[in-house]
């Protein structure tokens, strides 16, 4: 008697638990999916989103068409607001970068932040390298730092906005060593590299892929890499720690978010799709070609990673004297 009851109870419990799990697996998008990005066509996130669309298509992972929607402006603020407007919509995704975490820290106007959205998955970490011209007198990062110490403010680094990773690493190095050099902001990566190649600045933080071609052509020399461990193609270049600088650079991350209050089964579906994508051959090839770091993290863990990054960024901004508004 009790035995049967127990069995029945167990069966009921199994049903109760199992039924929703079954419906999770059942949800599929039926309408074209919009991917909102914060740059115009040709920006880093736009190109990543389009590459992901292509791979999803090639690997037949999503049954509907996916299209990229550009909402540029305010370092992600406009895009974040556009995603938040689509509350509960299971057919909208957004691609974020560390810029989305830095933006709200310095911008009062921004009302919607990435934490108002639903985290789906972290996809990538972007490593970078310190490069100088091939004819530069600096053979190691230590050489550069010593020269900067000897002539404070005379050496120059080209980079993006002062809230970008390029500047944060500089600030960290300056703090650790007492050296001082100037930081010149340029809006595009092309202009930054042109300034270095033309001899107008002395050093820059550059993407490994871009640096590689210039090293091969004998135009640049790479002094150190900004990543946790040595990248496969740069096995002879030391990381910052190995070069003797005890600093932990804040990682540059890229990931996927969704509108607030997206239904749980849709969230589970999208996490599953991106997890699957990260195991495909096309994804591995993409990561290798662009010399990125595969860093998949699902939903909640992604949110934790973002919170950690935000906290580190804020700490660095305060140290660097950048006005922080929240």
């Amino acid at each position: 008697m009790t035995m049967i009851r127990l069995c029945a109870a167990a069966a009921a419990a199994a049903l109760a638990l199992g039924a929703p799990a079954l419906s999770h697996a059942d949800w599929k998008p039926t309408k074209p999916v919009d991917i909102i990005v914060h740059t115009g066509p040709g920006g880093g996130n736009d190109l990543l989103a389009r590459a992901v669309v292509t791979m999803m298509e090639q690997e037949k992972l999503v049954p509907v068409r996916m299209q990229v929607l550009n909402k540029p402006g305010g370092n992600g603020a406009v895009a974040a607001a556009a995603i938040a407007e689509r509350e509960g919509d299971p057919n909208t995704l957004g691609f974020i970068t560390s810029v989305w975490l830095a933006g709200p820290l310095t911008t009062k106007e921004q009302k919607v932040t990435v934490y108002d959205l639903t985290p789906i998955a972290q996809l990538l970490k972007e490593p970078a390298v310190f490069a100088v011209r091939a004819d530069s007198p600096y053979k190691t990062l230590r050489d550069f730092i010593e020269a900067a110490k000897a002539h404070p403010g005379a050496l120059k680094q080209s980079g993006g906005s002062i809230t970008s990773r390029d500047n944060i690493v500089r600030e960290q190095l300056e703090h650790a060593t007492g050296a001082k050099w100037a930081y010149v902001s340029f809006p595009g990566g092309g202009a930054r590299l042109a300034a270095l190649l033309g001899g107008h600045v002395d050093i820059m933080v550059i993407e490994p892929q871009e640096a590689g071609e210039n090293v091969r052509a004998g135009k640049l020399r790479v002094l150190a890499q900004i990543s946790e461990k040595r990248l496969p193609k740069w096995s002879d270049v030391p990381t910052l720690k190995e070069a003797g600088f005890d600093i932990t650079p804040t990682p540059q991350i890229r990931g996927v978010v969704a509108p607030p209050k997206m239904p749980a089964e849709a969230v589970a579906y999208w996490i599953g799709r991106f997890e699957k994508l990260h195991h495909t051959a096309s994804w591995k090839k993409y990561v290798e070609q662009n010399e990125l770091e595969d860093a998949f993290l699902p939903g909640q863990e992604f949110e934790k990673s973002m919170q950690e990054t935000s906290r580190e960024l804020k700490e660095q901004f305060v140290k660097a004297g950048i006005k922080v508004v929240r």
């Binding site: 115009g40 929607l69 909402k71 305010g74 406009v78 092309g190 950048i322």
Partner: protein
């Protein structure tokens, strides 16, 4: 010899049926998106990027490049016919192109735009082929101080864009400079003049302002009088619509000017087609024997900027293909496409992939010929649009403007801005303020401020950095430009005095 062999190889690649087909497809698509305001090459090429993964890379690159330079041909169409700039680099074309259309000379204006585009576009390809690697090295000498001086020279062009009053032109330019300052500051990450709104954090898109000032302002102005000004009739027959031999002779210098200026500015990763078109227009007016005709339908005012924005394409490909440095959003997408296809853009690209480079160069010769053949008969079709009566044409312009702005950002806020700047344009017309200087200030303000601040960061605050040879020369030219009206005025006074003395 190397170049000849390379070109032979290139034509072998570019004349295969597939490559020819891709080239045609690219330039036709380019012309169409050029004609449509709002939809530009960056958005189109980005949309097509996933499709190209299934294609053979050389053919795909030929097609994407076709879209890029094809759009420059189409961009002038709505500028001339409707006063709605089709691409940002065709804003200047509105000034004289639309005035020509109002005088019944839409045909020659459209035809001249196509011919100038062909000549300068071909020049750009020749220059890309012959001197690309050498020029790329020279372009690296150009940095922030040089850019600052270039932008100052561009701003000095305001005296050439001024209508009756230099003071009004300068005021309009200052408003343009202020509007360009709206948004997030690159150097300090602080927001300026955003009035607490998120949408203004990214700044004000200059295409929205240009369409508002030119197109909407014009429509509002046209609707006001009870008896609207009649457009002069458009003649029939393609032969009567094309530019005459006289027109061609008048534009001799404009072809050279547009080709050289467009290419040189294109090579600089920090400038662009819009700036090139403004500067070549200014130069054209400065050296013209009849500057008073500019702004009232001078055909050189169409030929110079339309030529320069086509030569710019060849120039912009120089840093992309020889250094792996993109200068605009379109070239940034082409760079990403090359990486996706497995190429390695950078200093060794031409050496590593001669087939792609020479195939592309050869296809651009073919593409420019195709575009000329395609665009000249289209003149007859487009010119007939002006037969449409005003009560249909005005709403049409309004519709095209609204759709164009919405297509580029799908944002209601942008439409609000469009309406606002339309109203501003209308008031400026009523009060006799010229619109072009305001657009000039808006285009140049941001890069000029940036370049100056970068220069001062490089020099630890010393203005002496602006005294390097290139910036100094450009600044002297700017000063000379500004002095011209003063000189003219004093000269006029002197003549008056002499007359009086004689009397």
């Amino acid at each position: 010899m190397d170049i000849l062999a390379g070109l032979m190889q290139g034509f072998q690649v570019a004349t295969t049926p597939t490559a020819l087909g891709m080239c045609m497809l690219g330039v036709v698509l380019g012309t169409v998106i050029g004609v449509l305001p709002g939809l530009g090459p960056p958005a189109t090429i980005a949309m097509l990027l996933p499709l190209t993964m299934k294609l053979e890379p050389t053919g795909a690159m030929i097609m994407l490049a076709g879209i890029y330079y094809g759009a420059k041909y189409g961009g002038s169409t709505t500028s001339i016919l409707l006063n709605v700039p089709g691409e940002s680099s065709s804003v200047v074309t509105c000034i004289d192109g639309y005035q020509m259309a109002r005088k019944g000379r839409a045909g020659p204006a459209l035809g001249m735009a196509a011919i100038a585009s062909f000549i300068a576009g071909t020049f750009g390809v020749v220059a890309l082929m012959l001197i690309a690697p050498m020029l790329a090295r020279v372009s690296l000498a150009f940095s922030s101080p040089e850019y600052f001086a270039l932008m100052v020279m561009g701003l000095a062009m305001v005296v050439l864009l001024a209508g009756n009053s230099l003071v009004k032109a300068l005021l309009a330019m200052l408003v343009g400079l202020w509007v360009s300052g709206i948004g997030t500051d690159l150097f300090t990450a602080t927001s300026r003049f955003t009035f607490g709104t998120v949408q203004l954090l990214g700044g004000v898109d200059f295409v929205v302002v240009a369409i508002g000032l030119f197109a909407l302002g014009e429509v509002l102005g046209n609707m006001e009088p009870a008896d609207p000004p009649k457009m002069l009739p458009v003649p029939k027959g393609l032969r009567n619509l094309l530019p005459t031999w006289q027109d061609m002779k008048r534009c001799r210098f404009a072809f050279v000017n547009g080709s050289v200026i467009g290419f040189l500015i294109g090579v600089l990763p920090g400038a662009g087609a819009t700036i090139a078109s403004f500067i070549s227009y200014g130069i054209e007016k400065a050296v013209s024997r009849h500057p008073e005709e500019f702004g009232h339908g001078a055909i050189e005012g169409v030929a110079a900027p339309e030529g320069s924005n086509n030569a710019e394409t060849g120039g912009a490909l120089v840093p992309l293909l020889t250094l792996g440095i993109p200068g605009s959003s379109t070239t940034a997408i082409l760079l990403a496409a090359l990486i996706l296809w497995g190429f390695k853009p950078g200093p060794l690209f031409i050496q590593d992939s001669p087939q792609l480079f020479w195939g592309l160069v050869a296809s651009m010769y073919i593409g420019n010929v195709v575009l000329l053949i395609l665009n000249l008969p289209l003149v007859a079709v487009f010119a007939q649009l002006l037969r449409v009566p005003a009560h249909i044409l005005n709403p049409l312009i309004l519709g095209v403007s609204v759709v164009g702005v919405y297509a580029s950002g799908s944002s209601m806020f942008q439409l609000g801005l469009l309406a606002l700047f339309g109203l501003v344009g209308y008031l400026m017309r009523k009060l006799d303020y010229p619109c072009a200087p305001m657009v000039l200030g808006l285009v140049l303000g941001d890069p000029m401020e940036r370049a100056l601040r970068q220069s001062l960061m490089m020099s630890q605050g010393s203005l002496a950095i602006l005294l390097r040879p290139i910036p100094l020369t450009l600044l002297v030219v700017a000063a000379a430009l500004l002095a011209v009206p003063l000189f003219r005025k004093s000269n006029a006074l002197r003549v008056q005095m002499l007359d009086r003395e004689e009397a």
